[in-house]
Structures are given as structure tokens and as C-alpha cells.
Amino acid sequence: MEKWYLMTIVVLIGLTVRWTVSLNSYSGAGKPPMFGDYEAQRHWQEITFNLPVKQWYFNSSDNNLQYWGLDYPPLTAYHSLLCAYVAKFINPDWIALHTSRGYESQAHKLFMRTTVLIADLLIYIPAVVLYCCCLKEISTKKKIANALCILLYPGLILIDYGHFQYNSVSLGFALWGVLGVSCDCDLLGSLAFCLAINYKQMELYHALPFFCFLLGKCFKKGLKGKGFVLLVKLACIVVASFVLCWLPFFTEREQTLQVLRRLFPVDRGLFEDKVANIWCSFNVFLKIKDILPRHIQLIMSFCFTFLSLLPACIKLILQPSSKGFKFTLVSCALSFFLFSFQVHEKSILLVSLPVCLVLSEIPFMSTWFLLVSTFSMLPLLLKDELLMPSVVTTMAFFIACVTSFSIFEKTSEEELQLKSFSISVRKYLPCFTFLSRIIQYLFLISVITMVLLTLMTVTLDPPQKLPDLFSVLVCFVSCLNFLFFLVYFNIIIMWDSKSGRNQKKIS
């Protein structure tokens, strides 16, 4: 029973950090006329409460889509509606049609922050706790330490409780999906993941690994017997959950199309604002966004994305395993982040979640990645005046990881899961023995660069001719790091063999 009191303490620490971060500013605070994501969420409560369902996604005199029009799937809308009912009970001014635009007050901030906390507490945190308890082959203390590190991951805390979003809902559902599918409750897992997709369409980044893993399981069970039954059941669950979520929007073809148009705004271009992906970084040298026509951009991003994730997914279909599934989630989401269309910097959280899940297996690399992922959002966090919480939570996360996993002692080839890879390389290059050293140096360079860039961005003013210099540098450096991780995770997946999996993990 000792485990339960320690786990409770870990959850309490996580909640305390979350709430103290929420005391800070939110996106768009005091910045009319558009404000920010906080106002967007409040506006959606206003729209969903006051207008009939048919009008939620359409442009009308009551619903100006240019002013934070709904661009998430129906579950977000239902969640906003639920929050709106509570808001109406407390203070109807918060969601009054038209007049509540730009409403800001201490009480309202408290209400909005509380909705995030409750959603987190109900969906994401239980999933994390359960996931850590279900981890195999590690001691109780390590499970609890793992939970602490995941709950202290700064990126999610800063975006949800600082900037203001509800990522914990979609990521929580996705985590329940991972749990279900890994523990052979495939139907429940699929249901949870469908809910995740129907909350935020970005969860589609995770869809391929889920699909490949489940398909692989069906193949393994034999397509002529149990496998086929499973396949049919899964298909039914997926279809049923989509139909249930989209029911009000399936009545007319135009409704469905309009929602899809809002969810996938192909008109908005290859990327918007500064994001740490390939296209934005490439754009620094060659303005592809302006040179290439729109449809070419679409095709190009499509090709690159799918080419980079295909090997891992195919391997997952052929050799479905829980470990392969988690790593494929990472590499797939990272491929999408780096090469896909209209990626936002917050989408890195979709990669961070699976990396958190493999924290216990490759603590050193995971910690490194999670630090870079938080750093990549620096321009956004600075804009929201979240410098102090960012620095503090990052340091807390770093200390937690170092003390829980002794990450600096786990940098050997075997612990980085690169043993089979380096053995293969040594067949051609016998002198290839410095992999571990190289990676340690890369880590040092990476951390020093991140710290320096942070200091520069905070203390210096950019030169007049290049006002975005620091944001672009941050994105560029992060992109380089992410490319390295893409290669690394793909190597782990491709070189992961049965013999590697049978080795007992040393923790």
C-alpha cells in the first residue's frame, strides 16, 4: 500500500505545479481586438451555448468565423457547451452573445483555469498514473519516479495552464488508447483514441501507428479466424464512435463538408508563423512558400511525411509489439511535425506524449528531447510572459529526471538501445566505437546552445533589419535537434530485433 501514498504525493505535486503556473498570464491577455487562445475558448462557449448546432461551424451575422471560428472537431464544441452551462450558472455575462467579447476578469480567469484543471484531473492524470503502474519490469520506486517526471513535463503544463488550451483532454484520451491497445483491450483503446481524434484533429498524427499496430495484431491472429473478427469489431467501434460524435453534422452533406473545411484549412499555406519544422527552416534559405504553387506544396509535404514514416509503420504491421508501437508513435508524430502541412509549434506536444511513455526505456534521450520540445516553444511562451514559469518548470523537470533515472549514467550504447545498430555499422567501419561519446557531446552542445539562445532572446534586442532573428534561430536549432531525433528513433525501430527485446531491462 506504500505505493499509493507516494503516487498520491506525486499527483499532488503535479497539481500544485499546474495551479501555480496558471496564476500567470494567458495568451492574448489584455490585447484587443483579437486577444488569444483564451478568448477563443471563451468565444466557443458563447457560440455553442447561444446558437443552434447547425450554425456552429457556419459563417453568419451571429457567428463571425474570422473571429476565432470553431476549428476543432465536435467533441471540443460539446466540451465548450458543457463549460458554458457552468458559466451561465455562475455569471451569464461571461457567455452573453456579442457583448461578452474580450471579457476579462479575475473571476473569469479562475473559472477558465479550473475547467482546465478538472479536465486534466479527470482524463490525463489518471491515464498517466495507470500507465506508470502498468509498466513492466521496473521497481515500484521507478514507476512513481516515472509518473513524477511525466507529470512535471513543462511543455504540456505551460501550454495548457499558461497559454491556455485543453491539450490534456486529447492527449489523455490518446494515452487511454495506448493503454487499452497495449494491454489487449483493443476495443476500448480504439474507442478512446477515436474520442481523442474527435477532440482535436491533430491526433491524426497518431492514427497511423494505431492503425498499423491493430492491423498487425489482426494479421498475427490470423485473417481467416480471430483476426478477422477483431478487425470487424474494431471497424464497427471506430465507425460507431465517429457517427455518435458527428451525428448532428451528418444530417446534411453541406454540414459535414463545412466542418471538414474548418478542420483542414488547406488554404492557409505550408506553415504559419515560426515553427520548428523543415519547411519553416528551409524557408530561411529559399522562400519555398512564395516560389512553389499551393498544390505542389501540398504534394511535397505529403510525400516527405509519408516517405519518412513508412518504414516504421510497415515494420509495426509485420512485427506488432508494444514497444515498437510506442516508438512508432514517436517517429510517426515527429515525421508529421517536421514535414506536414500547417503545423503549429504546439503540435510538438503530440510527439512529447509518446516520448514521455518511453522515458523509462531511454531516459537520457527522452529527457533531452523533452527539454528541446519545451525550448522550441520559447517564442510563444515569451509572448505570453511565461518566462519565469518556463525556466522554473524546465529546471524542476530536469532535476526530477536526473535524480529519478540517473540519466547521465545511462549513456552507453546498450542503454541508448543502439547496440545492434553500432554492431551492424562496425561490420563496415571497425573504428565506429565512439557513438556514445558523440551523443554525449551533441547533448552538451545542444543544451549550451539552448541556454545561450534563451539568454540572448531575453536580454538582447534583435537587429532592426531582422526583427524575427531570435525566433527563427530558436526554430532552426530545434529543427536540427528534431531531425537528429527522427533519425535516432527510426534507427531504434528498424534495428530492434527479437533478441534485443528479450534482454532484461536494467533499471
Partner: protein, 409 residues
């Protein structure tokens, strides 16, 4: 990589605990702060912009200087750092000035001064010997004591939300207790004397110090049965103790004696007319009575700690103008006792849970409500479960239950 680990200071658990709570304190910077914030800003202004002769006379603000001179000097030193943050806060007429830089400076100064508290906790941990208990780190008495002190709920919310400077003051007190345990009595006495001249509320526990030092330091030897050997009374030691107290007081009050301001200073420190003196001093008589009652049974540093806690509790229960924050005066020393014996642990748990709960009304704003509930739950759950685990283990050992303090009496 090993060098990197050491460089980041996270090589051992104590640093991790200290760093962790420091980071939590940084997260508490934007929380609600009470009028005490303005009090200290005002004192920064007074000590910075006015000559010493004016310090205890200045009354532009209602929050006049009512702490002893060492604290005034402390504010004076702080003000020289403050001027780099925001010059405006040092203007005596800028009442209720609280720019973001002022807030940042004040909060950071509290966090920074807690370094003394961390050092004192480390010294106290050295005084515990937990060899007989299990090898699991989180079950070691040192670890538990460190958490109970470094992450103390009361200290966190009073110092880092409500706003006060209790951290380093309790650091001085714990350090003096640790020195007494380490048989460095003169240092212990000196540190306590210094503490008294920082905040005179610690006078409440002065009788405990007085009796203990008399008993264990001035009487150099005991009879075999543990009672006092009256002939071993050492005048030298009494005189040297007296000298230490006198020198510290001279350093503190000297300048004001020279300026003929002693009555004014005392009227600020003890703001009562003669008629009310009875009520103010009564609890000290109680405390003194309790303490003296136990003179013959005071054996060793642990007895001193009990005495001190008793003095603090009596003063809390019966004292005049007692703040709810004064419960910390009893809780923190009690923490040292709690990792020693099971009986002390249960008393500690009751005291700390009710004491901390009594601090709730200090934070009455809505955004701070979840913080105080979460931190309270955190501390209470941890203290109950860790102490329970600690003493459940020791019952299974053949040797006597509990851990031995380094008391050789």
C-alpha cells in the same frame, strides 16, 4: 557526464530536495501577498533613505519599524541591492508601491535568505543517527526530517505567499539548536542572542535556552545518577555566556543607546503601556514555571528541545498579541523530535496538522485556495505516511525502538 552531474548539483538527494522546494518557491512569486509586503518595503525605504537616528521615529506609514536593530540593518543591506531593481520602492512616501520589479526583488530576497535555513537543516540532519533503521533512502530519518523541515507547509505559505522572512530566522534558531546538540554551547548561545536581536518574539523560548545552558554548560559535571553536581558550577562559563549576550546586545542596541533612543526603541518593540505588562509577561511566567519544573528532569539536548517546544506552545496558547504564525515556533523544533521517538511523532502529527490548518485563514483569496489545500494535503499525507513507516520498521528491530541522538549525557 559525472562532472556535469556534480556541476548541476543534483548528485545527492539533499540538494535535489532543496532545489526542488526553491523552484516551488519561485512558482509562488505571483501569488497574493499580505500587508506584510508593504511593511518590509517601507522598512527598506526607511533604512535606506533616512539616517539611523530617524529609524525608530519615522511614522509616515502606519507600518513603523518594530523589530530589533539587527533586522533594521538587514533591511538596510537589502536596500542596497534593491536599488538596482527599482529605485522607487526606497522612497518613504511611496506608500503601497508594488511594481513588478519590487515584487520580484522582495520575493527573491526571501527565497535567497532561505539558504541559511537550508544550511541549518543540513546541520540538524548531521545530528541524527539513523543507522539502525532500514537502508531505503526515503525511510531514513535524515530524509524524512529534511522533507518535514525544507518543505514545511506553514513556512511555505507564510514566507512565500503571505510574505515574511521567517525562513532565515528559523534557520538561525535551528542552527543554534544544532550547535547545542554538537556541544558547541558558546556558538549556540551566540546564535540565539543574534536571533533575539533580529526578532524579539523568540524571547518566548529564551527560558528554555537559559535553563539548558545553565544546566548543561555551566554545571560541568553530573553525579552518576544524572542529577546536578552543585560543586561543578563554573563561574567562567557563566561569565563567558553573559559576555556573549552582552556583546551581541551592545552591538545591536549600542548605537541607539548612544543616541538616547532606547526608550523609543523599546516602545516600538513592546508596544504596551505599563498597565498591560502583566498580561504580556504572564505567558513567560507560565513558560518559566513549566521549564523550571522540569529542571531536574532535563537531561540532554532532547530534553532541551522538549522544553523549548513547551515554551513555544505555552506562549502560543497564553501569550498576548500572538499571531497564528507563531505556531511555527513550536512546529519546527518539534520536527526534530518527531524522527526520534514514536510517541513524539504522534504528538508532532497532531500538532502539525492542526497548526497548519489554523494557518488557513491567512490566505483568503480564491486563486490561492487550491494551493493551500494541495500543499496542506501534500505535507500532511507525507508526514503521516513517512513517520508511520519509520516507526513501523523500528518496532521489528531487536535494539531499542527509535534512533539515538548524539546526546552523551
Amino acid at each position: 557526464m559525472a562532472a556535469f552531474t556534480i556541476a548541476t548539483g543534483t548528485g545527492n538527494w539533499f540538494s535535489a530536495l532543496a532545489l526542488g522546494v526553491t523552484l516551488l518557491k519561485c512558482l509562488l512569486i505571483p501569488t497574493y501577498h499580505s500587508t506584510d509586503f508593504e511593511v518590509h518595503r517601507n522598512w527598506l525605504a526607511i533604512t535606506h533613505s533616512l539616517p539611523i537616528s530617524q529609524w525608530y521615529y519615522e511614522a509616515t506609514s502606519e507600518w513603523t519599524l518594530d523589530y530589533p536593530p539587527f533586522f533594521a540593518w538587514f533591511e538596510y543591506i537589502l536596500s542596497h541591492v534593491a536599488k538596482y531593481f527599482d529605485q522607487e520602492m526606497l522612497n518613504v512616501h511611496n506608500l503601497n508601491y508594488s511594481s513588478s520589479r519590487t515584487l520580484l526583488f522582495q520575493r527573491f530576497s526571501v527565497i535567497f535568505m532561505d539558504v541559511l535555513f537550508v544550511y541549518a537543516v543540513r546541520e540538524c540532519c548531521k545530528c541524527i543517527d539513523g543507522k539502525k533503521v532500514g537502508k531505503e533512502l526515503t525511510e531514513k530519518p535524515k530524509f524524512i526530517l529534511s522533507v518535514l523541515l525544507l518543505w514545511n507547509f506553514g513556512l511555505l505559505i507564510v514566507d512565500h505567499i503571505h510574505f515574511q522572512y521567517n525562513g532565515f530566522l528559523f534557520g538561525l534558531m535551528l542552527l543554534s539548536i544544532a550547535r547545542l546538540f554538537q556541544k558547541r554551547h558558546m556558538e549556540g548561545a551566540f546564535l540565539f542572542a543574534v536571533l533575539l536581536h533580529f526578532k524579539h518574539i523568540y524571547l518566548y523560548v529564551a527560558p528554555a535556552y537559559g535553563v539548558y545552558l545553565l544546566r548543561s554548560y555551566c554545571f560541568t559535571a553530573n553525579k552518576p545518577d544524572g542529577s546536578i553536581r552543585w560543586k561543578s558550577f563554573s563561574f567562567v562559563r557563566v561569565i563567558s555566556l553573559g559576555l556573549v549576550v552582552f556583546l551581541v546586545s551592545a552591538l545591536s542596541l549600542g548605537p541607539f543607546l548612544a543616541l538616547n533612543q532606547l526608550p523609543q526603541v523599546f516602545s516600538r518593540l513592546f508596544p504596551f503601556k505599563r498597565g498591560l505588562c502583566h498580561a504580556y509577561w504572564a505567558p513567560n511566567f507560565w513558560a518559566l514555571y513549566n521549564a523550571l519544573d522540569k529542571v531536574l528532569s532535563v537531561i540532554g539536548p532532547r530534553g532541551f528541545l522538549r522544553c523549548l517546544t513547551l515554551c513555544a506552545l505555552s506562549s502560543f496558547m497564553f501569550g498576548w498579541h500572538v499571531h497564528e504564525k507563531a505556531i511555527l515556533l513550536a512546529i519546527l523544533p518539534m520536527s526534530l523530535l518527531s524522527v526520534g521517538k514514536a510517541g513524539d511523532a504522534s504528538i508532532f502529527l497532531i500538532l502539525t496538522t492542526t497548526g497548519h490548518y489554523s494557518l488557513f485563514p491567512l490566505l483568503f483569496t480564491a486563486p490561492e485556495l487550491p494551493i493551500k489545500i494541495l500543499l496542506m494535503l501534500l505535507f500532511t499525507i507525507y508526514s503521516i505516511s513517512s513517520l508511520k513507516t519509520l516507526f513501523r520498521r523500528s518496532f521489528t528491530l531487536v535494539a531499542q525502538a527509535g534512533v539515538q541522538w548524539h546526546d552523551l549525557s
